[in-house]
Structures are given as structure tokens and as C-alpha cells.
Subunit: 216 residues, 2 copies
């Protein structure tokens, strides 16, 4: 399977395929044609075929896709067959929301440690994980084979903490702080800038209102 | 200014320009060349020029961009010069995290009401806004000129609630429920599927490890 030149757009669509296939599998559906999947997912059948062909193609002419097999294969492509150990940095509302989200664990993303600089909440448990002082992060990472850090701290602190994470050998950062982290290229950063999403929504709202006004 | 054919990719980049320009403005910087902005934002100067030219271009040869002016103009393009009235549906951890995020308000996104079906938390205040029963949502929307709803509820409920919102005349939905909402085309939906983001991170982590193994 040659995955060398998969575009970012296709990668962004894979989790959605994975979700629909998982739901179909849970409903007991064994196979589906690209046409039926197209109706369900509201994308064209040709896009589905094109996307999945990038990974070697899993469909058979006249049969369609084997739901369970395709689900498993996309899961593997997404790296979901492996366990990932996470730490969460910042135990405010957002951090707690993420820590309490059990679906991450179902997908193999296991939160091992939670850190916060606020000493008032040290020792407090979130899903049986105690909130620990930042000072313990480095040794914790060494002893727990952590590969992903979730940053839910203010942007003023995020840059410094990202530097610490890099020194501790982090592989991926899921960054909710509203700042671009300056880390080496071999570290995978996925930014989650929620206020920028809201601006995008606002843009489209604005456009759709002016379209109506101009009849466009 | 002809905004008819702005690509989604450019729109996604606009909030980031807005953020950098806001920071420069706050630091007292009056003007910046596309070259300097390029170094700061780690994108090519030609991309910056190309992106901003789509909106008519704000730069002057030999002068660069007027920071404050460009910031204001991008804000207008993003619709941030207008106030948006929001309701939040679902006052769990994530809902509370969003409700407490003051920066949304600074950008003109004003949370007017919070709704949850859990009667145990009705009347509880989040930033002075009481959590209200779902049954009050419809009349509240009519009386408060609500244009955006933030959905932070489980996916099993989101589809039904989205239907209610449509009947009440909602214009935009910021959807954190892990499901695709089936709403008319004139309603702007921005999905925030956090677990899919995490899968994308996992994919890239997986790739970067196998790249290293194969020396690719």
C-alpha cells in the first residue's frame, strides 16, 4: 500500500469514512456500494472511489465494499490499531471536558496523566487520574511512554510548555492554545483553534446574508 | 470588493492573519511588509500577497501593509464588526468551557442563553447566564434575535435539536456533536468533530514514525 502522496484533504475525510463505516457495522450491514455510501455521506460516489483508491482500493466491482474490512483498514491507516498514551496539560473546563470524553479511550487514546500549575486542584481526580503539578511532568513522561500531549492552557504558557515537551521527547501535540507552537518539524502538531472556527462560521454567515440581499 | 469566489482554504487562513495582525497592532507595529509577515507566520510572502489580493489587496508597493487597517478590513470580511447572538445547548464540561471563554465575546459572539435538558442544573449560573430547560428555547430564540446555536450535546440528541433550531429560524450552527446534521443548505453549519481531529493527528504520527523506519 503506497501512502506516500495522500493529500491533506483526503486525510481529513478518512475519519468521516471511519465513522460512517463504524455505524454501518454496528447496525449489522455487511457490505455497501459506493453509490449507497455516497447517498448516506452526501458526497459523490466518484469521490469515495477516488479517495479509497489512494490506499489501494478496497471495493470489488459488483460487490461494493465489505464494511467491516474497510472499517478495520481505515482504522489501521489512521493508526487506531495502536494505543497512544496521552498527557493532558491544563485541567480547566476544556481539559476536563476532553479528559471525560470516553470515546477517545475507545479509539486507543489513553490519558495517563493530567497536569496543571494550579496547586489548589492538585490531587483532585478526573476519571481516577489525579491532577499533578507541572514539575512532575518530565519524570512522568519518561516513565509512561507518552507520545501525545494535549495542551489546554492559555497561549501565554503554551509556548514554554511546548518547549518542555519537546525536550522530553514528545511526538505529537494536540494544541488548543490560541498560538502557533514553534517546534521541530518531526513533531506532529494538530492545532484546534476554536475561536478561528467560530470566525469561519461568522464569515459564512455573513456571506450567506449578503448573498441573499444581492440575490447571489 | 468581489468576494464571490474565495476558496475555502483562503477563508480558513483569514482568522490566522487576523490573529497575527491583532498581535502586531497590540505591540504598536504600524506597518509590515509581506516579507516580514511571511517570516512571522511561516508562510511564503507570495501566498500572503495572493491571499490578500483576493479581497482587492491592501498592500502598497514599497510600503507594505498598514497593520491596523488590514486588521480592521479582515475583521469586516470575517463579519466580526457585527454582533452575533448565540445560544449554547448542552451545559456539560465542554459547554461550560465555551461559555466561559471570554474571547468569543470580545469578537462579538455574545452568549445570550444556555439550555440543557438536565433539570438538576436548571437555574445554575454560568457567567451570570442561567441554565434553562430545553422547553424554553423556542420562545427565547424568538425574543432574543439569536443567529448562532452552539451544540455541545451527545450525537443522539443533536439531530432532533437541530431540527428544532431550524424551525426556530437559526442561521448558523456550531456543531460539536459527532454527527452530520441534516439541515437546509441556507443554514451554515461548522462542525467541530474533535475525535476526528485526534485521528488526523494519529495518522500523521503514524506516518512520521513509518517514514523514519523506511528512511522516507
Amino acid at each position: 500500500m503506497d501512502e506516500k502522496n495522500i493529500s491533506g484533504a483526503v486525510i481529513k475525510r478518512l475519519p468521516r469514512y471511519f465513522r460512517y463505516l463504524g455505524e454501518l457495522r454496528d447496525e449489522g450491514v455487511e457490505r455497501i456500494s459506493s453509490g449507497d455510501l455516497s447517498v448516506l455521506m452526501k458526497v459523490t460516489a466518484s469521490q469515495i472511489r477516488q479517495d479509497l483508491n489512494q490506499f489501494g482500493g478496497f471495493g470489488q466491482q459488483g460487490y461494493g465494499y465489505n464494511v467491516s474490512h474497510l472499517y478495520d483498514e481505515i482504522g489501521k491507516i489512521l493508526g487506531l490499531h495502536k494505543k497512544h498514551n496521552l498527557i493532558l496539560i491544563g485541567a480547566g473546563n476544556l481539559g476536563q471536558a476532553l479528559a471525560n470524553y470516553v470515546n477517545f479511550e475507545k479509539r486507543g487514546f489513553i490519558i495517563k496523566g493530567i497536569f496543571d500549575k494550579n496547586e489548589k486542584i492538585h490531587g483532585k481526580l478526573i476519571r481516577d487520574i489525579p491532577i499533578s503539578p507541572m514539575e512532575e511532568m518530565e519524570s512522568f513522561m519518561k516513565n509512561n511512554d507518552i507520545d501525545i500531549a494535549v495542551l489546554t492552557i492559555p497561549k501565554t504558557e503554551a509556548v514554554k510548555v511546548a518547549g518542555m515537551l519537546v525536550r522530553c521527547g514528545i511526538k505529537g501535540i494536540w494544541n488548543f492554545a490560541h498560538v502557533d507552537l514553534n517546534v521541530p518539524d518531526n513533531i506532529v502538531v494538530k492545532n484546534e483553534h476554536l475561536s478561528e472556527s467560530l470566525m469561519e462560521l461568522s464569515y459564512n454567515l455573513n456571506r450567506s446574508v449578503s448573498d441573499k440581499k444581492t440575490g447571489g
